[in-house]
Every structure is written in structure tokens, then in C-alpha cells.
């Protein structure tokens, strides 16, 4: 199976935020806004994402989380997963010294990370 190294966000959306001292990232496969979507490919993308996002993978993509508890909850009905990183934000937004103390942009960071995606899941590149 051939893959290409592309940003995770190529067909994956993210929304991140805080819950006290924990950070939370939702990752899910985008829907084509024009409505013309191959349902089989979407289903294949979701299956890939559900298998791809694991604790180890998140720790790899976000080195800052390497020593923290990372739990991945599947939400297949929404096309993706919810990731909880415990303790990333210390004692909460007001006390945190972290750049981005509410993890507002954590989702955009992980979307920018390069990952190996099977070519069959990608839009064909114009020649």
C-alpha cells in the first residue's frame, strides 16, 4: 500500500479546548461541503483515523504529551475520536504558564503534523 507524507489535517478536522487542567482534542473526518462525497471513501477514511489515533501516536505527534496520560475515545458516529491529555494545562487556564493555556490551538498544531496517509484516501493530485 503506497502512502504519502501529508499534514494530518488534509482531510481531518480538529477542535481543541480545556477542561480544567486537562486538554481535549476532537479529530474527525471532514465532510465535503458541496455534498458530493464518495461514501465508501469517507467510511475508509474514518476507519483509518480510528485506527491511526492511539495514545502512542498522539505522544509522537505532540512530544509535549509524552509523559502524560493520553486517552483516546472513539466516536465513530461523529466520524472520529476524542483525545484527552491529562494535566497538560496544570491548574487551569488562569494558573497555567503554558503558551496557549487553554489548548485552543492544540488541534491546529496536531493537524499540521506530517503523517503517512494511504494514497487511496487522498484526493488525486492534479497532474
Amino acid at each position: 500500500m503506497s502512502t504519502s507524507r501529508v499534514p494530518l489535517g488534509t482531510f481531518v478536522h480538529a477542535r481543541s479546548g480545556d477542561k480544567g487542567g486537562n486538554a481535549n482534542i476532537g479529530l474527525w473526518v471532514r465532510q465535503d461541503p458541496t455534498g458530493s462525497e464518495d461514501p465508501e471513501r469517507r467510511s475508509a477514511r474514518i476507519d483509518w483515523l480510528l485506527g491511526f489515533v492511539t495514545t502512542e501516536r498522539v505522544r509522537e505527534l505532540l512530544p509535549e504529551t509524552a509523559q502524560l496520560s493520553v486517552v483516546v475515545h472513539p466516536l465513530a458516529n461523529l466520524g472520529g475520536v476524542n483525545v484527552i491529555v491529562e494535566g497538560l494545562l496544570g491548574d487551569g487556564v488562569a494558573a497555567s504558564t503554558r503558551f496557549d493555556p487553554q489548548a485552543k490551538a492544540l488541534g491546529e498544531w496536531i493537524r499540521s503534523r506530517l503523517v503517512d496517509v494511504p494514497d487511496e484516501l487522498l484526493d488525486p493530485t492534479p497532474s
Binding site: A14, R15, K19, N24, G26, Q31, P33, L75, D91, A95
Partner: protein, 282 residues
Amino acid sequence: MVTGRVTDASVVVGPGIWRFGWGPDDHDALAGAVAAGHVIECGTHATGGNFSGFMDLPRDARPLGFPIAELHADGSSVITKHPGTGGTVTIDTVTAQLMYEIQGPVYDNPDVRTDLRSIELSGDGRDRVRISGVTGSAPPEQLKVATNTLGGHRNQMEFVLVGLDLDAKEAWLREQMDAALADRRPAEVVWTRGPDPAADADTEEGAARRVRCVVKDPSAEVVGKAFTAAGVELALASYPGFTLTAPPGKPSPFGVYRPAYVDRNQVHERVLVDGVEIGEAS
């Protein structure tokens, strides 16, 4: 409707209970209302704000429209917005908000536990998304309490280092600051840095590394002038090209948030209208 502090979704669940006469055992309807409430509780977060698919949005100066939840008796809803406003409502914008600030597959609310895995989203026309199929179960025996305590005071300075020998400039700065703070060192001193510039940058900012020092202490005095003076006094006495991104500021107090839990039988709700107590919450 005016209330004291309630959960975000309750602002939708409450009117739903009133309008449709739901009882405490109508878990599925309540769960549907919680889902609808969670979607619209952050306003434009559901209509294209903070949305990673923003490249597909019409992007202009119009303010994004606020979302509306059309709630039905069975707890299903349609999320939409006023015509003519900015942004859009799509399955993805609604999913973004469903995914926001949750703690796993079950979302707890004082009235019901909502199973997020049961939610079905479907298009219902332009800028209309239907939420259906939501199931719920009995709420937890314990209610969540948001506690906030005064954590202390904090302050920060951001130093700009430009050009060559950045590691050495930073090392010297930190050594000097540590020495200047030695007499009354703040309880917490955290140094972080921004990205490193590429060599041979053709703008000054492009040649810069930002180094941030954040301090926290129970005492405002320790992180006040005692801290900022230490930094400012290095302006003529430290690395070449010393500058700050902001003038020294006053310390600010910060709170520490911790969730706690209390047995729900310890909590007695009372409703007073014009000072007269009405009914009794079950």
C-alpha cells in the same frame, strides 16, 4: 429567563422541560436537549468560528451569525442561524462544537448522562443540521462543583534576542536574572522560548528569538517591581540588542480551578418568584 450559575447546556434544557413537560425520567429527550444546548452554548463556535474547515467558509467582514436550536418534543433539534449573517451551519461545524470540552463518550449534566455515541447528524437544508437519535441515562449521583481559589499572583516579561549567538545571549540573560532574583526568588519561575529564526533573515523580527519568563508567587510584591526591575535593569547591562516586547507590567492575581463533587441529596434547589417560594424541586 434569568438564573444563577447553571451548566451551559441547561440554558436550553430548562426551556425544553418547561415547553414539553419532560420529567426526570425522560432521559432521551433530556439528552437530546443537552446535545442541542452543548452545540449552541458557545455561540459562533457552531457557525464557523474557530473552525478548522474555515477555508470552505465565506470569509468576509460580516460577523458570524449566532446559532439557533429548534428543539422538538422528543429532544431532537435542528441547528440553524439567521439568514443574512456570516458563517454557515454544517455537519462539520456542529461536530466541532459537539467535540468541544468533553471528557469522553458520555457527557454528564445534572439532569442526564448523554451518550455522545448515539448522536446522529444529518443535513436539513442550507445552514440547517438535524440532531437526532440521542439517548441518555440517569444522571450521576454526584453533582459537579466548580471551585476556584486564589492561587497567587503572576507576572511575565518577554525578552527579544536577535541575530547571532542566541543560545549564549539567552544563557547569560537567565544567569543574570537568576542572580537578581536570588534574594526573593518567586515560588515558580518558568522560562520558555518561541521558534528559532532561520539564519540570514531579511527582517529584524525574522531574525529574532523571543524568550519568555513567567513568574508566580503567593506575594504580589515578589512578582511585582522586584521582578520587573530585575529585567529592566539589564537593558543596558546584558546581551547586545536587548529589548522587550512590552513595557513591564503589574502583577495580576490568578485563580486555581478544581472540580469537586457533592452528593445530589445534599443540594436543595429553591425557586423564589418575587420573594415567594414556589413548588418544590424533585
